[in-house]
Symmetry: D2
Subunit: 275 residues, 4 copies
């Protein structure tokens, strides 16, 4: 059995000594271990993969006694449950479907919820429940509450916005802190908001990009998990930029999902620490 | 109606003048136009997208009269028919399936032929014929002839090897000159042959890559269409390199397919000129 | 003798025909030729390298008669004169000095003007005049006028801001339209203004970049010539980002300079078309 | 005072515990710490930056008592002495000169040794001794011995081959194990040996690259430290590839030098582990 141990804490001398002592004395194997000290903010972050005969609650108590002020989380390695929110574009959703299908991702897609119905056929090919909630004549909160109702039946580890083209309100966001990953189709903080490819075309940039981030209450301002770019030039209009950008979007989202399901992301000060 | 005009020729003074004169006098619109002169080899390559009331045969005759020694090809812009050969990995095939499904590619996948049967379920989700030809107890030519028999029923514009893990003999290759695109999982010419990720891991490289190329009679030595790379490090074993490489493979293959179906690739001297 | 022919015009049918006819009838060789039609704005851009026995004025007249509304420019290929403005960082300036020294750039650095004096020693090693104009107790226009006075003695083809950390006013900028290239240390339009590395650090981005652009009256909003990026992570503070970014800055600036001295850049609608 | 602690060892349970215990009990601060376990080869690698009132010899003894089989190295952080070997190209050498000049590198270039004399003027601008040893009429070992004689006067931490276009024999290489860094102008293992840009041009690749590696007895087969690439296309002849490649070469070499002078590189099994 394999477990993930995550610790974050105010930094102080001897943290690694105390953690490794506890693990050593309890006969725990460490397969790999990463740590990071944010010297500027005096913060300590730690992740290890551990194995051995261990009782999660007992080990957590022992570690907490040694590190009384730290946040400590021990979880068994397992397939993560995810829910995908989408609108009408198939590329990001399709990539995740194929990656689950081929076991490139260790995830279980519990359902897909969309505010358009054109992706229903694709999702159902993979025998995944599809919920179509037309948002056109609804206010935001009513629409969100319908989604929340569905999500609450599943209790996912992660909610993935795979080109979900709706702004979420605090009503929704605050229910799932650091559990919602969005892909924004620009290298943030450039081109916040609507139509970033049109903005990029108009500005005449030579690179476009995509940003995967956790969603918080400020539009496109959540902690960035991963970014990447691709080159464009004067020959491309905004539709061609969008088409070229799609591969970047899905790749970036996919890398962020992988980091999340492997429990590698800490969030601090609106940034991510990735171990 | 839109058409693609492709010309290659020995270079000589006035080629563009002669081409543009013929087009102008026949009232043809040029939407965009690219040319390349290989000064070292004294070769001229030309591609344009043209429109207007035109008779392909008649225009071709007029151009040929002006440029008696050139190769001239005029085709109507249309959806391209493709056949995919695969083995057992889903990522490259899946990406093409999704891109056809979402109209990101203007292709019609006529069928998929594989020497394993585990992808059958995926392909048939998309209502595409799947032919399973187990090659285990067959010599190469017998196996290839069974594939050729199927292919001959469809007459595709392009044959895509989407991680088809069999070496093709001249018996097959010579039937489809510059029509077979392969994705090789290394930045050629590094790591030719079997298990490039294992080779890359053993060599300790810091970047891995993928190469899309036309298939000719020499293993992994055909004209390169597109390449890309991703960074790796000492923490990754060869399976992790392979997993990270898969996104590069499918992206590179996908870009090469796009160039091919848009008739942008000339082959000369075992290289590609991309206009 | 080699010449560069640059044409931009309202697009209309037969432009290439008319240009190539004139060149053909005047026995001009075309070594290479690029064109671009901006269909959205109905604009035509053309660049070719030509040779033969030609009289610039005569050829220009003939072309202008055929294309009465076009902007036509014919120049002999030659070493370009440049002036560099700097402040205190050596990396971008040093790269240009080495590239001139080793003939990687076909430029003649006429002088360097700086508002700090710490680069004087470096510049003078290369026997290039260095002008130190302390701007501390001067208003912007007075400072600019002192620079303009120096520049007017040299009449450069290009003014390069190699990390010149002063904002230029219209008083200066409007004297040298599309002749001033700046390197901004972010992938614009992200992180406009002061301290982009600190802004990038604070925002927690995973990529930083640099942008070379022509300078116009709006801060960091001129036509973008070239951009590139490099990856950063949570381990880097802003000084480490700045240090890593320096190589990107100098590479991007260097590529933009190369495009400019080869007369490859058209500016239209606050964008660059690069042929 | 800051120190670097480097440990490599056969992996066993409790290594981190033992190390951190020793450091904790001796009141040593750890500023940052990285480790890597090569599970396949059962090897452990560790690097930390430490500070405090410490006696190197005493601390090393204590650690060695706890980890009897480990290789342990403690060094004070300090400016590194380097010698550069060059031939005739200025770009890689020039970049290092500028980086020393501007304190972007914490190095002291003790001297430059070259088998051509055209770089003498450049090197002496920076008041660095330049040794010209014409190798034309010498056998390899005689030439190398003349270089060894000079090097032995300086005792550098690192020898940098900044486009030194001579093959070194074991006579030279074995004197400086894991101390010689070379920049090879291809993404190894592609294009080993002479004229990689010509090879790349002939093969028609779409990316070219550069590789920084430690030099061992097998040509271009030493442990790779860093690699990067840049895109090329059919329009470029081999000289243009070489010119574009130069920026990649110098960037890659520069990043490798930075890793080396910061004592971040372990060599094991002909690979590098970079902490």
């Amino acid at each position: 059995m394999k477990y993930i141990l995550l610790i974050d804490s105010k930094d102080e001398k001897g943290l690694i000594y105390k953690i490794s002592k506890t693990l050593f004395e309890n006969n725990i194997n460490i397969t790999n271990e990463q740590e990071f000290v944010d010297n500027e903010n005096n913060k300590f972050f730690y992740r290890s993969e551990i194995s051995g005969e261990l009782d999660i609650k007992d080990l957590k108590n022992k570690l907490q006694n040694t590190l009384p002020l730290a946040n400590i989380k021990i979880t068994q390695k397992r397939t993560k449950d995810v829910i995908i929110l989408a609108t009408k574009e198939a590329h990001a959703l399709g990539d995740i479907l194929i990656k689950q299908y081929s076991s490139d991702f260790d995830i279980n897609i519990q359902c897909v919820i969309a505010n358009r119905n054109n992706l229903q056929d694709l999702v159902e090919k993979f025998n995944i429940p599809f919920y179509y909630i037309n948002a056109d004549d609804m206010d935001r909160v009513t629409h969100e509450n319908k989604m929340i109702e569905i999500i609450s039946k599943y209790n996912p580890d992660l909610i993935i916005l795979a080109k979900f083209m709706r702004i979420l309100t605090p009503n929704f966001v605050e229910k799932y802190p650091n559990k919602i990953i969005n892909i924004h189709h620009s290298f943030l903080p450039a081109f916040i908001g609507a139509n970033p490819y049109k903005q990029a075309y108009k500005r005449g940039v030579k690179i476009i990009g995509a940003t995967a981030h956790f969603v918080n209450n400020d539009l496109d301002d959540g902690p960035i998990i991963e970014q990447d770019i691709t080159r464009v030039n004067h020959e491309m209009n905004w539709e061609e930029m969008r088409n070229k950008g799609r591969d970047v979007e899905k790749n970036v989202l996919s890398r962020a999902i992988k980091l999340a399901i492997e429990d590698r992301i800490f969030v601090y000060d609106n940034k991510t620490i990735i171990l």
